[in-house]
Symmetry: none
Subunit: 308 residues, 2 copies
């Protein structure tokens, strides 16, 4: 098993695809464009496959290069992760588990869980991967993170899930809003209401499928904002309303910056779960252990993601 390509070649492909031009890729990698030109030529010679077709001035990526870029991302992040682990290992910490939470960047719950983790497992270090480099699922597949906390049902080959908790959706408004005092809102209440969505794609079993569509009552779309924290701010200043997961709103609610109402009389709850690679599901695997402890911690009476 002797690879044709070197890590440099993978970095090269990644950088060129990312920037679209050799000059910028060169700057990104801290070398001259000439060096990259040579590297690219060499990579294509070794593979005997054109990676980029040179049209006039611009580079166009071939499917081969696109495919390799995906592999490169996976390999490069896998390796740097391993290097970091090894260095940590040397410093006495046995294991690092990397964790990321879908969408919300509220980490108020973290100290509580870390405390819990310490009492139940020694030598495991948690690392929160905040950057939304990519969506959490591919992050797990790429080994960029080990556990993704996500809502909804995840079914993907190679991935396993552990249920964590059920969380109600909350219709949030400015405190001065006409519906602010309501214990719950129905479809008819929100017709024509300015509404801020998080995703562009309606997910099943969320507000679309269970509030708007059944009663044919649609709010007025105001904006799509992919940062829940920003949505909260917009809602607080009465620029619109939204539906978000309750656990991440506790602080804003407690501070009175926004108010929330249950969605429909019965409420809509969404399941949250921990997603990890199936290969890490071994009984004694620290990743699996952290996931199990996370589930256990969520079920404790005075713990869980809702802590304020």
């Amino acid at each position: 098993m002797k690879p044709l390509l070197d890590l440099r070649h993978l970095q090269l492909i990644q950088a060129i695809i990312e920037t679209g031009r050799i000059t910028d890729a060169a700057e990104k990698l801290g070398v001259t464009p000439s060096a990259l030109s040579h590297r690219l030529r060499e990579a294509e010679r070794r593979l005997d496959v054109p990676l980029f077709t040179r049209m006039h001035k611009r580079l166009r990526v071939t499917p081969a290069a696109e495919y390799l870029a995906v592999v490169a991302e996976r390999i490069l992040s896998d390796l740097s992760r391993a290097e970091e682990d090894v260095r940590r290992m040397n410093a006495g910490i046995q294991h690092v588990v990397r964790l990321s939470v879908e969408a919300y960047s509220n980490y108020r719950w973290l100290p509580s869980f870390i405390k819990f983790l310490k009492t139940r497992a020694e030598g495991i270090d948690l690392q929160i991967m905040a950057g939304a480099r990519s969506d959490p699922l591919t992050g797990v597949l790429n080994r960029h993170i080990d556990i993704a906390v996500m809502s909804g049902d995840v079914a993907q080959p190679g991935l396993s899930t552990l249920p964590l908790f059920e969380d109600p959706l909350l219709y949030i408004m400015a405190p001065s809003h006409r519906l602010a005092e309501r214990p719950f809102v129905e479809g008819s209440d929100i017709v024509g209401e300015p509404f801020i969505t998080y995703t562009k794609v309606p997910e099943p079993d969320r507000e679309f499928a269970r509030l708007f569509r059944p009663t044919d009552s649609y709010p007025k779309w105001a904006a799509t904002v992919e940062l829940p924290e920003a949505i909260v701010e917009l809602v607080a200043s009465d620029l619109g309303t939204s539906v978000l997961s309750s656990w991440a709103l506790q602080t804003a609610l407690a501070e009175g910056r926004i108010t929330g109402a249950q969605v429909t009389e019965d409420g809509i709850t969404v399941p949250w779960c921990a997603v990890l690679r199936t290969e890490d599901m071994g009984e004694d695997d620290p990743i699996h252990l952290v996931a199990r402890l996370l589930a256990e911690w969520c079920s404790l009476p005075d713990a869980g993601f809702h802590v304020t």
Copy 2:
């Protein structure tokens, strides 16, 4: 993300763990033991972690090296397999052209065009980019997509257009609507009618400029919904009426879920065109070729976006 280690270092670790001694590992890799000794030293220096402890004669493997061996195996085989794949891939598709259609996510026409494309050009693969519907123009400029199919006249530096077809606007209603039987509607007919708009910004030469404004007859605004498919659903359940491009409505009309009337006695037609970057306009450029073929296909008697 610049890895500390090189693939050679990974091979080294793998080989030493496999054989247990540097001499044999060297033979396996086809180099002298001395070379491996240097390599190993360098790897340990970079990581600042001992990989093997030298017990006089034999080597003892540290946990770090053991861990890295697992990673090495994974990375090396991953890369080799990807290289294999890519070399095979070379035989097939040469080019990928990414295409997106403004607003509508009706792709009923796609199979017909792909068949046509196959007869006229080899080795070009079409990729439909659903994401950039709302703003395909910047999608083209950003190089997320190569061709955008859009209505209206596009004049922007760096972009070129090819005319594709002319499409009439259709006033759509629920089948039970009072105007359902009309062959066409005038401004006076739709005064006060609940109306769902797609865009927030009125575009020139559409219903605003050519139906509402000339006769000063305005419908009653019901909502702005940025998904034509959702508009069709709303109209079907008689929650409003709308004006949309006829080609994307063929299915819903054929199924009788909605009915359509010509807009004004003479009708309003809107030109649709393919937008691509000027730099891709070269005669032999596959992107330009796809755009030309798209135009040609549109002019065929039994082809085009209207196919059902």
